[in-house]
């Protein structure tokens, strides 16, 4: 059974909601505490980006089921100004908003899969995925 849920990201209290919801899902999917922390932290970074730079948007949580692995996929989407230079934005420390510039590059490091598409004046979509394998322990 594939589950999926979409949350609004409009305010900073929504970011807290996203963290809590993602935490719940990671627990239900059986991720270890360290994995949970990494996933929720990545989600927090991207949710904040969606709110601050994307001017608000959504995140879709999806449970993925393969033969020998479970996964959690998070898709952050906004219709904001977009990112003119993605490669630049992916550099550690690069920020246009006075933050630490670790959101995109950090989320990529914390997850197994990371995809980003963006068009200026149209919006941005970032998809991150983390897997838990059954026969590993």
């Amino acid at each position: 059974m594939q589950r999926s849920e979409t949350l609004d990201i409009r305010s900073s209290s929504d970011i807290v909601q996203v963290r809590q919801k993602v935490r719940m899902w990671t627990q239900q999917l059986g991720f270890s505490l360290v994995e949970q922390t990494k996933i929720v932290t990545a989600a927090s970074e991207l949710a904040r980006n969606t709110m601050e730079y994307g001017k608000g948007g959504t995140v879709q949580l999806e449970e993925l089921n393969d033969e020998n692995r479970h996964g959690l996929r998070l898709t952050f989407e906004d219709e904001g100004p977009g990112i003119p230079n993605i490669a630049l934005a992916m550099n550690d420390g690069y920020t246009t908003g006075g933050g630490l510039g670790l959101g995109l590059s950090g989320a990529k490091r914390l997850m197994d899969e990371f995809e980003i598409t963006s068009e200026v004046n149209q919006g941005t979509r970032v998809t991150i995925t983390r897997w838990r394998y059954f026969n590993r322990r």
Partner: protein
């Protein structure tokens, strides 16, 4: 919760972060602490984060700011009780919290603060072992 309680203990201020803070709460804490340091002339700030399950770059920035502002106001900051999963995640996130002193727990944090009052950082601590 509208704001995080700040307790005064002699020359020290103690803060224990027990909730998942939304941005405004974190910024309020930053301002409140700064004001309290000035008001009380506190020499040390101890921040207990043993209940914090997530530190993202925003919270990391807040902690950095608190440490920097305290130092400007002649107070040392020590952050205590970081959960192991959080420490592991911070390193991978790329957030090294440089300039923030840490300790395992409140007791060790207080020892660190007391020692730093005795031997302020920047002074040579090469006291001769006579």
């Amino acid at each position: 919760m509208d704001s995080i309680p700040i307790l005064k203990m002699g020359e020290y201020l103690l803060v224990s972060i027990q909730v998942d803070m939304h941005d405004r709460l974190a910024l309020t804490l930053q301002d409140d602490l700064t004001n309290r340091i000035v008001k009380t002339g506190a020499k040390g700030v101890l921040i207990d984060i043993s209940s914090l399950e997530i530190i993202d770059s925003f919270i990391g920035l807040i902690l950095s700011n608190i440490a920097s502002m305290s130092r400007i106001l002649d107070a040392e900051t020590v952050v205590v009780g970081m959960q192991p999963a959080v420490a592991i995640t911070l390193v991978e996130l790329g957030l090294f919290l440089a300039g923030i002193r840490t300790a395992l727990n409140i007791e060790k944090g207080m020892d660190l603060l007391r020692a730093s009052l005795e031997f302020p950082p920047g002074e040579s601590v090469n006291r001769a072992k006579k």
